[in-house]
Subunit: 217 residues, 2 copies
DNA sequence: CCACTCGGAGGACAGTTGTTCACTGACTTC
DNA sequence: GAAGTCAGTGAACAACTGTCCTCCGAGTGG
């Protein structure tokens, strides 16, 4: 009675996911370009050759990991952008979401931070592309805010990219602070710094127009 | 007449440098954790075992590369911090220096960006430590500026860290824009974005105090 | 000039790697 | 229920890895 749509295909995606999970786990202490195909299959418990049924090579697996890793964060930030709130509260909420994301998906965060400038071109490009879409989305959201009145599309986009970059950097910083020396102190400091820096950028944003009209006499 | 102080030791440091250079070259298209010891010695033209005369393992070589890579940038930025200039001009000069640094030491920049979150713990820590010293130095310089009047040491430090982070990110962005698609366009855009973002931070910095005194009634 | 230091050579070791090929057998489709 | 698909198997391949060991010979210090 349970032949809904493909017992076979279901099993395939199951081991495919197992491959992704195993790789992600192994990538906690090495980078993708040093990861071995056999190493991954060994953890999953399948023959090395079975790997090819799912991915052409490890680069392709890496790209799949990028989508998985950035996909979850994407939906989270989308939620923040939707709500209208005061600048100060928005910042707190944003950092809180990032903090939660790091706690729930530490491996994903580490993967993105590590492979963003890593040794595998295809993965780098996948991350860059995803972050670009990300930036465009943030820019759209920023444009609707009153503060952006009179801003050029280009200026809004540069601001959006700055925000996106801070998000990624912040997440990586929180993660680093976790498995480092002091257990609670470093992490809390990272969060504090992130909030402070976002606040500074927000203030700069609010006073941007005064400056621009005043600097050309 | 040329037995100044050690023909032998001179030769040793020469091959040591050759090892560093060879590794740096190979690291253009892979990450440190996937780099092979034999791979490096093959490029230099020495026996694999000779490697051990200079480094215990590749991690140690990586740490040496960190010092070499960050050392050059360090002295450059120190020069910028020394000179007193208007905010706008200072930003232009800073970005110009970064741009020049990327052009002259692309491999070093790529190495730092790649291994900052890379798979080798010792190297990560070396970079983190170096950037921390870096941040402290920038903080010292910022403290002497009139704009920082009334700022706590902690606030100045967070600002300094933000600046340092932007420098590294900017350098990496310029580098990425170079060997990507469009030859001149992308690079110039990266520079423009960097300047814009620094300007925004600078404005936020100037209006920081107003905001702080106004938000608590 | 002689004893010594020490950067480097070269062989050999056991492991590991990615990829190939023909194969099996449970699921799917008609 | 027969024919076909296809995820996973297992042996075999050449190529490579890091490290150990012994040896060499040019520079060094007395």
């Amino acid at each position: 009675m349970s032949h809904t749509v493909g017992v076979r295909q279901a099993q395939k995606q199951k081991t495919r996911q197992a491959l992704l999970d195993a790789a992600l786990g192994l990538l906690a202490e090495q980078s993708l370009s040093s990861l071995g195909l056999r190493e991954v299959t060994r953890v999953v418990g399948i023959a090395p050759t079975a790997f090819y049924r799912h991915f052409r090579d490890l680069g392709e697996l890496g790209v799949a990991l990028v989508e998985e890793a950035l996909g979850s964060l994407h939906s989270m930030v989308r939620a923040i952008l939707a709500e209208q709130a005061a600048a100060e509260e928005r910042i707190d909420r944003t950092v809180a979401v990032v903090e939660r994301h790091v706690r729930e998906h530490p491996a994903h965060v580490r993967f993105v931070a590590r492979e963003r400038h890593g040794g595998v071109r295809a993965v780098r490009q996948a991350i860059a592309g995803e972050l670009e879409r990300f930036g465009a989305e943030v820019a759209d959201a920023l444009r609707t805010q009153p503060v952006s009145r009179g801003w050029s599309d280009d200026d809004v986009r540069m601001l959006a990219d700055l925000y996106v970059d801070r998000l990624v950097t912040t997440a990586a910083a929180i993660l680093d602070a976790e498995d480092a020396g002091s257990p609670e102190g470093e992490r809390e400091r990272a969060v504090r710094v992130a909030r402070w820096q976002l606040r500074l950028i927000s203030i700069g944003r609010q006073h941007w127009k005064d400056e621009e009209s005043g600097e050309r006499p």
